[in-house]
Amino acid sequence: MTAGLDAYAPFVGHATIEELRLLGERLRGRKVQNINSTAVGGGVAEILNRLIPLLLEVGVDARWDVIRGGDEFFAVTKTIHNALHGQAVTLTEHDIAVFRETTEQNLASLALSDDIVFIHDPQPAGLIEKRAPGSHWIWRCHIDMSAPSPPVWEFLRPWVERYDAAVFSAPQFSRTLPIDQVLIAPSIDPLADKNRELDARTIESVVTGLGIDPSRPLVTQVSRFDRLKDPLGVIDAYLLARKYNDCQLLLVGGSATDDPEGAQVLAECRERAAGHPDIHVVELPPTANIEINALQRASSVILQKSLREGFGLTVSEALWKGKPVIAGAVGGIPLQITHRYSGILTHTIDGTAYWIKQLLNAPDFAQRLGENGREHVRQNFLLTRHLRDYMLLFLYLSHLGESLIPLD
């Protein structure tokens, strides 16, 4: 069960909680229907699971529905997802027919009568066909849309243009559209197992259990075994830094059994790490939240050397633990890291190696980056900020186009 709003006061202060309740008072009884394509798994479901109870607590009549679709529909939406991420793929006429048919079925079965309908991601985008007069519709895109495949975007665009507003996670994801577009970043929950405080004994037990020496510096990247996270580049950067600094490397990620390419990338990482006892390549189940938390807390430096990234919330997770982070300047990462203030942004393997050495050799500077990073996350990437932005967006729907909105 999600903790109540007051449980967040120790992290963000009572004034912030009061502000959230003030906004809730102005939305009291407003019906908000969230719709996405899955009830479990994935970042969207995780966020809705945490946000819906908090919206209800402050007075917003929020609910959450999930569209239905068969394997064929979800194969098409996976293609759409990849195309919006920039893969050069197109939809066949059959794909389009499947997408429209499933949309029609959901239009027939879903009641879409709330004051605000909040559609998450492309799968349910076509539900706008049944927009009721007087209602407001929002399309929330969680995908990196900086370079979408043009034919697939053109397929979706006519629906998106019928919404009142579109929401993106980073400014470079926005498109040229005739509707309002707002920036709302995702968030982490400081009370979740992945982020809550852990005692030293738990941390040491996890670290030693994986054969890592807790007395020597540890450099860690937490991510799926995906080429876009550049795990082989991480190993190369580590090996360059290792010539001058005694340290260990940990590459840790979720299970890759359902992802053939992931399994291949994992095998390549193990092959590259062979013969280097200080490199640990670890596969953990998706439920290993406390273990990931402990490994982040045990690290001296955290890497997120992504080549492409939706938002990269693992960066906020590490910063929240006060860790110095070296990350690729892609996707939403520059929103989380201001270079040399709250972390380090790099573009190359050599640059990553350089900064690993710098941070291991200058622990005071590394500590300051971590402390600044934690405060930056506190102000901008905790669940309470996400809740505030959603409520502001709901209120904005009654003031579209305005810049100064008094809520007396």
């Binding site: 202060g13 009572h14 004034a15 912030t16 009061e18 502000e19 003030l22 906004l23 102005r26 900086s146 993106f168 400014p171 470079q172 926005s174 498109r175 040229t176 559209l177 309002d180 577009q181 707002v182 920036l183 709302i184 300047a329 892609v330 520059p334 201001t338 270079h339 203030y341 709250s342 573009h347 300051r368 600044n372 405060e375 930056h376 506190r378 102000q379 901008n380 505030r388 932005d389 502001l392 967006l393 209120l395 904005y396 305005e402 810049s403 100064l404 909105i405 008094p406 809520l407 007396d408």
Partner: protein
């Protein structure tokens, strides 16, 4: 003598912002100037003020977005320094802040032959602040109550009364100084707050500075 009581109590407001994406982006200084010419006051406000609350604990504090991008992405250190040094507190309106920013860039461009271009993916994205103002539950009729309220409110409230009222709404004075002088006849305190450069403090630093100023004034009152 009992402390002065305001006829019109001070209500602390908060200002919360939602960020609107404009779709405008600049890859070099010429494009930045072109977009700046068409930027609304709320866009200028976003890029020169959002860090005050969003980056409010960073040390050292980053400058405004224009200066940060020019220095860190375009690597134009000299211009970055000039943009960071624009004395916002002396500029009465967002329109004039925009003109001043354009003038500083154009002045620099006049001495440059080549324009540096941002690497792909690191362009400057113009964003707009949608500001929502709403009253909090904190209200003050005396100086002591004012200090108590100031201790409780969030950073957005301090930013709103010190920066936003003056620059965005066009008021000639900040809200704190205006009320303290107009309602409690605290002319010296109002002047002292007016003479602060709020851009060189963190929000918490500003709160503590204001509280110390008020505490000194209250101690002086008691010792009379």
């Amino acid at each position: 003598m009992p402390p002065p009581v305001a006829r019109d109590p001070f209500r602390f407001y908060t200002r919360l912002t939602l960020t609107r994406l404009t779709g405008r982006r600049a890859a070099d200084l010429a494009e930045m100037v072109e977009h700046l010419r068409h930027a609304s006051g709320s866009v200028i406000f976003h890029h020169t003020h959002h860090f005050l609350v969003q980056h409010q604990h960073l040390s050292p504090e980053p400058p405004n977005d224009f200066a940060f991008w020019v220095r860190n992405v375009l690597q134009e250190d000299q211009l970055g320094e000039r943009l960071a040094a624009i004395d916002t507190v002396q500029i009465p309106s967002l329109g004039e802040l925009r003109e001043r920013t354009i003038a500083v860039i154009e002045d620099y461009l006049a001495t440059r032959r080549e324009l540096r271009t941002a690497p792909p993916g690191e362009e400057f994205h113009f964003m707009d602040a949608i500001s929502f103002t709403l009253p909090t539950h904190h209200e003050a009729s005396t100086l002591a109550e004012f200090a108590a309220g100031l201790r409780e409110v969030g950073y957005a409230t301090i930013a709103y009364h010190l920066f936003e009222a003056r620059l965005r709404v066009g008021a000639e004075d900040n809200d704190f100084s205006r009320w303290l002088e107009g309602e409690l006849d605290e002319r010296d305190l109002a002047a002292a707050i007016r003479s602060l450069d709020p851009y060189t403090h963190t929000m918490e630093g500003l709160r503590q500075r204001l509280l110390r100023m008020i505490a000194t004034r209250l101690e002086g009152e008691q010792s009379r």
